[in-house]
Symmetry: C3
Subunit: 346 residues, 3 copies
Amino acid sequence: MFPKNAWYVACTPDDIQDKPLGRKICGESMVFYRGPEGKVTALEDFCPHRGAPLSLGRVEDGKLVCGYHGLEMGCDGKTVAMPGQRVRGFPAIRAFAAIERYGFIWVWPGDIAQADESKLHHLEWAENPAWAYGGGLFHINCDYRLMVDNLMDLTHETYVHASSIGQKEIDETPTKTEVHGDEVVTSRHMENIFAPPFWRMALRGNGLADDVPVDRWQICRFTPPSHVMIEVGVAHAGHGGYDAPAEHKAASIVVDFITPETETSIWYFWGMARNFKPDDAELTASIREGQGKIFSEDLEMLEKQQRNLLAHPSRKLLMLNIDSGGVQSRKVIDRWLAAEAPQVTA
Amino acid sequence: MFPKNAWYVACTPDDIQDKPLGRKICGESMVFYRGPEGKVTALEDFCPHRGAPLSLGRVEDGKLVCGYHGLEMGCDGKTVAMPGQRVRGFPAIRAFAAIERYGFIWVWPGDIAQADESKLHHLEWAENPAWAYGGGLFHINCDYRLMVDNLMDLTHETYVHASSIGQKEIDETPTKTEVHGDEVVTSRHMENIFAPPFWRMALRGNGLADDVPVDRWQICRFTPPSHVMIEVGVAHAGHGGYDAPAEHKAASIVVDFITPETETSIWYFWGMARNFKPDDAELTASIREGQGKIFSEDLEMLEKQQRNLLAHPSRKLLMLNIDSGGVQSRKVIDRWLAAEAPQVTA
Amino acid sequence: MFPKNAWYVACTPDDIQDKPLGRKICGESMVFYRGPEGKVTALEDFCPHRGAPLSLGRVEDGKLVCGYHGLEMGCDGKTVAMPGQRVRGFPAIRAFAAIERYGFIWVWPGDIAQADESKLHHLEWAENPAWAYGGGLFHINCDYRLMVDNLMDLTHETYVHASSIGQKEIDETPTKTEVHGDEVVTSRHMENIFAPPFWRMALRGNGLADDVPVDRWQICRFTPPSHVMIEVGVAHAGHGGYDAPAEHKAASIVVDFITPETETSIWYFWGMARNFKPDDAELTASIREGQGKIFSEDLEMLEKQQRNLLAHPSRKLLMLNIDSGGVQSRKVIDRWLAAEAPQVTA
């Protein structure tokens, strides 16, 4: 169960640079490519001739040419031409709304008529040259909501990521969860603590002492359908914490786009945006590598948690205070799902 | 759905040279071996004692000895002996009709009483010393009829095999499909074109110039249950094309025996028979290697097409003029299936 | 179908030395670890908080700490603590009876209230310093009863293990099967034969001539739920066979603990106990290596037999005299299963 009338990250421009990309999203097998004038296009990955996957074809002058018998598909799902054939009566395949923005290709797996570019939230860090971004993609066999839970409750850092970003004070510091319309914000502020290894590295990378007490914050923001941005950072203690001036802190935004593949698998686009040393490509690469290692620690846990839940479908899980970010996020998702459900009128 | 009262290629003599072979054909797990006097034998791969696969056993004096507890099985499916046992009351296992001919082992997965050697069509190239044959085996996860479609519509060469045997003129030249009883013939004759790389190589191998215009032909012959032989070749233009004298052409027969394993998987025996330089083993090996590479290009397409069709079972495919070879072949198959269906009388 | 109110081998102390072990036994996902004072503990592998597998956690002061969010689980399945939480109302998870004995961890997958240590049979070889033991673990995809059949009918040695312990005389010598309560004993005594390679090696290792006639015995003892101990050995002929004095023979006990994982897969703990040269670690290692090779020969046979039986669920297997050990063992198992079935009263 996922909202279908929503924007999801489908892939990055790299993925469709040389050839079409086949990827299943929200249960739909899609093909992504650049159509006329380079416009990103998403279609059903199914040639109307014999059912071949169009993603095994190639792009020619903005038309997708089926790799089996040469049918030329237009970006609206209607066949344009086929050698030796009149194609006017060919059945159309489904076209999905797709846009390119913020360095990603976004797709709307639901009703194309309802697709609305203005519903894609603004991502300041992706457009402002003062910011740099690096990230990657994991395929994980779990319900996308388990990953939302994971990201809205960072107490797991203490256990899953003990050697990098975890520290006991995360557990000990309560969080506050607020709901603003469809946005859910869970925040935690730890004061006068010592930074864990990842943040000591970030302090040094930022030209700051790493052996003095710091204030540390984590502000998780869920927005539907399943995106979580987390403001994270440390500031030398006594300078205002989250509000400290830039010269006293190292801060960034953890970026998580969670795209369901099926009911129990996801494409997990993870990354980090930072507004310091944005032109330092080496730093971007090293942060990306470190984050990739840390985030890969969640995979086994989430996949085995999913298997446990499938084996015990009727067992109720606990909803503790630390879970309130996930609980509230699921309520927003449920509201979106209800809005998409077929309406019954008396 | 496959005809069961028909001859299929099961394996080659090599496969049963040293030990029995276990292979599932048309949904039946079978064991193949040489029985008394070397006669090829096909039985259910199931020991009546404890259900062990007989294919893990060994052959001794023409008897198949179970590798678990030594039961000796006869070529009629009746137990011959077992250490310390009286075997007369042992239940028989199923025996299948099997014959060795044309360099292959053939099996009749249906009713053994109806098995008729005379129904195996004559293969001139396999018996005439003027011909040489080389081939191989692929396991592919698709319905056998998708491979029949593939072979009866060679426009796919232009796209799937673009760098070897494909060329634009295939698309541009219409085909003619004829049905003669149970045989379906789809033919295409291209005149005054340039040969693609594979055929230039064949011309050179045959001592002919490869840089002059040629006539090229493709004559696909389907015979049930699922065999496709394709006469292919090129002749220097102006010498009569298909009917040109041997010294002006390079020609061969593409041999395709498609044996269903299950409803959605096949054993695909492919090869090429040629009537030039039949004793040149090096040429046989090099053609076989080239053909193996070309034919492997179809695998991904067919397996993903199959998955697409399973995901959309109710969607209708197009039946274009280029598909008529496949369409007519499926009609023959349907007729055979209908003939095997249980009869209902009023 | 397996008895649940019974002791099964779950793992060895090595398996839980450094971290908890997750293992499915009799269909139950369990976590094994050492609780307070090192006592072995078995719980459901399911954190009551969010369903994470507890086996991904760690042990701290005898408490199992969930690796996801730090819940501390007690050895009775009740949550002891969790950072920032009152845990009194947390639902308990299931605890299983577990004991450590004879160098193994044993678990009782059924009703913990009925778990009775006295029901674990005495294993002399595991406690007496005159004996040495070496063994290993295989995972095999078959019903545990197929392995019981295998071990209670050693005629398969002639075929499956032809090059090591098999010999024609096994087939030719009838067995005797006796049932004593829940114990089934199948024995075979071969007289004045030549020893096969494995036993010639054992004779030499024991300082005895390997080129003279021997008496050989095999005494298979099944005890429920699914343990098979086999007394095996050879003695120089004419000294009393099984009853010969120690200086004339090489003997040992083949140890087989068969623990169901699911209905069609097992954890197979195999090994050998010997009462000669018990302190010779090199000999232990070499026997273990040889036995591992021999026992691995059964894997393919059992897994393919299982697949054959699943494909033909209604086909009846034969129950020959050589099968009587397995047949009688299955009767004992059926009796145990019936005793566990819900009682219906009139």
